[in-house]
Chain length 405, copies 2
């Protein structure tokens, strides 16, 4: 049977994730990898999670092993909502939808919102996984410049005006305000205020993705933790995740949003999976009930801050001055750019072969303009020693390339 002849138009448009395609490179343990997009598993509190799983399966096995309501395990939703309330979010446990990682929240949102051809505005650069999700709905991503402070609002206004003038359905703006993947940048308080005003003025729905908000390196005063959703609760769908802080392999994320949106996302979740995992949610709930999560987060911030400092110092020492890179104040990534005309993707195979170091080429994060000079590096995976050694090798490689041009 010619199975491919049966594929839907959406399926024809599915895009492989450029990052997942790098997996074979990342699985070579002899390569120093700046390419991983994942948290360091040493930071996951395995022993405390083991105790939590033990409690759950001793104390409430019939509940933890059974199906749940579509929005997921209520005690965890209440803890998530309480933490959100501390940030200013108005959501209650009832107004929280648990998902199979925040990626699934993004997918549910895309199903609720997008018909083929609908425009979704995205930052340049933006999270490639969101682009994959939007592509699976055949939505059309259009890029808006992201500056060091926030969204380029003049560009946003001009773009929306132009697109609507062309008759396009411009429904939503997708942003990662805090320690964005891939740029590492965080929006300032003033930029969030102005963005909130702009989305109201332009009548846009805001998809606010916040997996890295807890990973601030600086003192609390230097970073505005308040979600944009607090400023525009009626038009913001807020996505959170435990994947970067407790356990990516649990696949537990969540969505807050206007009830009309949440109830439609709930119907989508019934069609997709009936409900998220009761077991993983109840283990996380028990962890939160019996452990000091804030203390864990503080130690996590210290872990990544130290590694970031090591990498940035090594880049300063070893990278040619013509290579620019961000100095992130949180999260897992720095975003770098080669001199114009150099192509990070084209160089990667030789870089891996010659230097045994790897990074992620940036083009797949960039929907407008030339993305080829960019690349993303993480300091999450390797030890301080290997971060420094990798920076040395990579710097020497790029220097040779620049000389030979």
């Amino acid at each position: 049977m010619d199975v491919a002849a049966l594929f839907s138009k959406d399926a024809e448009a599915f895009q492989p994730s450029a990052i997942r395609a790098l997996a074979p490179l990342l699985n070579d343990s002899s390569v120093i990898s700046f390419a991983a997009g994942v948290p360091n598993p040493e930071t996951f509190p395995a022993e405390a999670l083991r105790e939590a799983a033990d409690r759950v399966l001793r104390d409430l096995p019939k509940r933890a092993l059974q199906y749940d309501v579509t929005r997921g395990y209520l005690p965890l939703r209440e803890r998530v909502a309480a933490r959100g309330a501390a940030l200013g979010l108005a959501a209650t446990g009832g107004e929280t939808l648990l998902t199979t990682g925040s990626q699934q929240a993004l997918d549910l949102a895309a199903r609720v919102l997008f018909d083929p051809g609908d425009v979704v505005l995205v930052e340049v650069p933006t999270y490639v996984g969101a682009l994959v999700t939007f592509a699976a709905r055949r939505a059309r991503p259009v890029g808006i410049v992201r500056t060091a402070e926030g969204i380029d609002l003049a560009h946003l206004r001009a773009t929306v005006s132009r697109l609507r003038g062309e008759g396009e359905r411009v429904k939503a703006l997708y942003v990662i305000p805090n320690f964005q993947n891939p740029s590492g940048l965080a929006m300032t308080r003033a930029a969030k205020d102005a963005l909130a005003e702009a989305v109201a003025e332009l009548d846009l729905l805001l998809l606010e993705d916040d997996p890295y908000g807890e990973l601030s390196f600086g003192n609390p005063e230097s970073f505005d933790r308040t979600p944009v959703a607090v400023r525009q609760p009626g038009r913001t769908v807020y996505l959170g995740s435990f994947s970067k802080t407790l356990a990516a392999g649990f696949r537990v994320g969540w969505m807050h949003g206007p009830e009309s949106f949440l109830s439609r996302a709930e119907l989508a979740q019934q069609a997709v999976a009936l409900c998220p995992s009761t077991f993983t949610a109840s283990v996380l709930e028990s962890y939160l009930a019996h452990n000091d999560y804030d203390a864990h987060l503080e130690s996590l911030r210290g872990f990544y801050r130290t590694r970031k400092n090591v990498l940035l110092a090594a880049l300063g020492e070893h990278f040619p001055k013509a290579i620019a890179y961000s100095d992130p104040a949180g999260g897992l990534f720095t975003w770098a750019s080669l001199p114009a005309g150099m192509n990070a993707a084209a160089l990667l195979p030789r870089c891996v072969a010659e230097t045994k170091t790897a990074y992620v080429p940036g083009a797949s994060f960039v929907v407008e303009g030339d993305g080829t000079p960019f690349f993303r590096m993480t300091y999450a995976k390797e030890t301080a020693e290997l971060l420094a050694e990798g920076a040395r090798r990579l710097g020497a490689f790029f220097a040779r390339e620049m000389e030979s041009r």
Copy 2:
């Protein structure tokens, strides 16, 4: 903001599950419930799963708590494939895609296959959760008669011929061959053989959903366990699940199928959730490695066989003869029909109020013809004593209703 004005056409078509809408009734612990669609949580091996979770978080925490490849945790895929091979399936671990319950496998398949308006053939009756998934893709379900033996192939051929004559895109046939939800019926070996020939002749893709295949009450010879997929591997997508046998709350199911289909479903999974939960998969794998799953299944069959026998005996004693019902040879459900003209949904609220017993009205399982006389009962939830008492009350209620007409 008028959020609803932004909804996609798919979202406008989302259907609430009629069964999930009954949840408030089911949560009243004073009601004897034949309505639940879920396994009995007493049957889940909580202690063995606790030990498995303990092993996993002691022995391989960094792997179990981390993201995984898109197809999911390979050691579990290999065990699933080995069990499938024992049934005759050709799939290897590589040819297995783990999903967030088999419902998510169904959703991935629907995304790969259906554009709005595409026809998916379904049994009458069929699993309402599949109809919800197809509706979320705006596929058009068309019913084919399911007899006690299998699919009415004359009806199948005539329907496909008629629809294609009308220019419809008829892509797939969705079936639950074994102990179907809601009818409890299992296809005979001859019916599976004939169905396999018919789908080839009609050039249909077969979606074979098999969550209940391990729950046969009879002796092995009386039931054909061989999946239809074994007969037509090139055109069958086979869906399996641990939800009915080990832990519904883990949300672990799987898909086998032609590689061209699996690789497209894998791209969909990247967009949906990056990967399924590594943790739940690794706990199930450890359970399977350290326990006698087949012995567990044998005890599970005994558990449900006993309850089925109690309920069927009580129905024989207490139900008016004009009410027909199936005598399932496995699974969790019996399917009953009131005399023509009586409406199971209309009677339910008064039934619950007057008798404190509940069932699931059948209309939402029936896409062709009058579904109003049908209702589904499960023997999974209640004890033998309550099954008998509930049957007595329900029989008396229906008898009064029939007399008053």
